[in-house]
């Protein structure tokens, strides 16, 4: 077996161990009088979620408009423009919102997490934490994991609203419909299962983004250059993991 394959297996094992340890701190930390600090979780929620709202809004609106334009064009070939809201509603909630938000957060927060941990590792800050008697997983990883597991589905829901509204504006104008008629058609098409499909995926993506960022950041080697490599690697691996998981999730859930 090649060295790369061994390293990949090693990293997957490390990720699983990190996830287990994070969950252990979340559920048992208080019993050991070493709880995961809510202030740290709130800070991460602000950083990963609230501060991402402007760019999330812009991307979601753009995706909604793009879907509306493409749907009207392709359905127009068959004279079925009036069904555009069906495709838009299902593809936004089941596919585009979780995927685009996952990619956005992997690029924005996954890389930041990797860079932060890599820098801390090189500056001996992780050693300092251990020696102070603070477990780095409890202090750094568990808050990020908790925060993103909450905030990525929230961002996905926000993206659903913005994308559907933007698409609605375009479609209703193009087809000379009222916005209320477009929205009631959209609501009639969507079932709770469609929303849960997207939210389930985004929860899974949140776990992947944090683990990929933490593994790349904490296994850094080679000074400042290593920090750059860890950050790049974290973005590439994070996005790849999201796309592959998206496909597997869609396949499994729709069988």
């Amino acid at each position: 077996m090649g060295r790369g394959a061994v390293r990949s297996l090693d990293e997957i094992g490390y990720s699983a161990a990190l996830l287990g340890e994070s969950l252990r701190w979340v559920f048992a930390g208080r019993r050991w009088r070493q709880p995961v600090r809510l202030a740290a979780v709130a800070a991460q929620m602000t950083e990963m979620g609230i501060l991402a709202l402007p760019i999330a809004t812009l991307l979601s609106a753009t995706v909604g408009l793009m879907l509306a334009i493409q749907s009207l064009y392709s359905l127009g070939l068959f004279g079925a423009e009036s069904l555009a809201h069906v495709g838009i509603a299902l593809s936004v909630t089941r596919e585009f919102s979780p995927l685009i938000m996952g990619i956005l957060v992997a690029g924005r927060s996954g890389s930041a997490l990797a860079a932060r941990l890599a820098t801390m590792s090189i500056n001996q800050e992780l050693d300092a934490l251990k020696v102070i008697g603070v477990d780095p997983v409890r202090f750094l990883v568990a808050p990020a994991l908790l925060a993103l597991v909450v905030m990525l589905p929230v961002l996905t829901m926000w993206a659903n609203l913005v994308a559907l509204a933007a698409a609605g504006l375009y479609v209703s104008t193009a087809l000379d419909l009222s916005m209320a008629a477009y929205l009631s058609g959209t609501i009639a098409v969507l079932s709770p299962g469609d929303l849960w499909h997207g939210l389930g995926k985004s929860t899974l993506f949140a776990v992947l983004i944090v683990l990929v960022g933490v593994v790349n950041g904490s296994l850094v080697a080679g000074g400042a250059e290593g920090v750059g490599r860890a950050t790049t690697r974290s973005v590439v691996q994070g996005i790849s993991a999201i796309v592959v998981t998206d496909m597997i999730f869609a396949f499994v859930v729709t069988q």
């Binding site: 801390m120 102070i132 603070v134």
Partner: protein, 256 residues
């Protein structure tokens, strides 16, 4: 430390190290680059697991402790890392308060007072609100000491305290170490390659060379040690080349 061996992968870095630090003394671990002193420190801190031998810190065998017991032991230890290792996202005061916040159930005002006191002890009064990036190298090291002593540890470690400091600041740092020992009655272990500093602060010095303990003695004892390797190290002379004159002559004469 009893017959301790350490490896990085397949490379052995420490060989059969035996070392005892007496309570209340300042022990300096000295050696050149690659001598294994940083590895030795990482083992003392429980950051590495020895490949053989045992390590007892404050009466507890490190290899027999579970993670929670190790955390408990570490509360009685403080470390000032070479570059300070302050958390860059927190102010200096928040850095100093972190061990209190994690291990002591104190209100915010009490923690503020303790942090201010510890910063005053290391001559850093008034810098609590600054970020670590706003401090000089010497100030960073002092702030790291304030954080290391905030829980009043029994055992304090310094990693290369004088490295990167100009002679005057380094001398002041040595004075700080001695003052701390006197004021707080701590056992202090200092890892350094600075001879002047070592001779000034040490009760005893352990000389490490290529992963082996060459000598453990007082500064005076080391000065009088007849070993050529120790004297080369103390006087910053390069190692004597190992010349096998008889073998060379035999080879010249065509012998085996």
């Amino acid at each position: 430390m009893h017959h301790l061996d350490a490896h990085y992968g397949s490379v052995q870095v420490l060989f059969d190290v035996n070392l005892t630090v007496q309570a209340g003394e300042v022990m300096v671990i000295m050696g050149g680059s690659g001598s294994g002193k940083s590895t030795l420190l990482r083992h003392l801190l429980g950051l590495e697991v020895p490949s053989a031998g045992s390590l007892t810190v404050l009466g507890r065998n490190m290899s027999r402790l579970d993670p929670l017991e190790l955390t408990g032991l570490r509360r009685q230890m403080g470390v000032a890392f070479q570059g300070g290792a302050l958390f860059s996202s927190m102010t200096v005061a928040e850095n100093v308060k972190l061990p209190l916040r994690e291990h002591a159930e104190l209100d915010e005002t009490t923690m503020d007072i303790i942090a201010r006191l510890k910063l005053e002890v290391v001559d850093l009064a008034g810098v609590g609100d600054l970020m670590p990036s706003e401090l000089s190298g010497g100030m960073l090291k002092r702030a790291a000491v304030a954080r290391a002593i905030v829980l009043d540890p029994k055992l304090l470690f310094f990693d290369e305290p004088s490295a990167g400091l100009d002679p005057a600041v380094a001398a002041a740092f040595d004075d700080l170490i001695l003052r701390l020992r006197q004021a707080m009655d701590m056992t202090i272990v200092v890892v350094t390659h600075e001879m002047e500093s070592a001779f000034k602060i040490a009760d005893r010095i352990t000389v490490l060379d290529r992963g082996r303990v060459l000598a453990v003695d007082s500064a005076e004892g080391l000065r009088g040690n007849p070993s050529r390797r120790i004297q080369n190290l103390l006087n910053r002379r390069p190692e004597d080349p190992e010349v096998d004159a008889a073998g060379y002559l035999r080879r010249l004469a065509g012998g085996a």
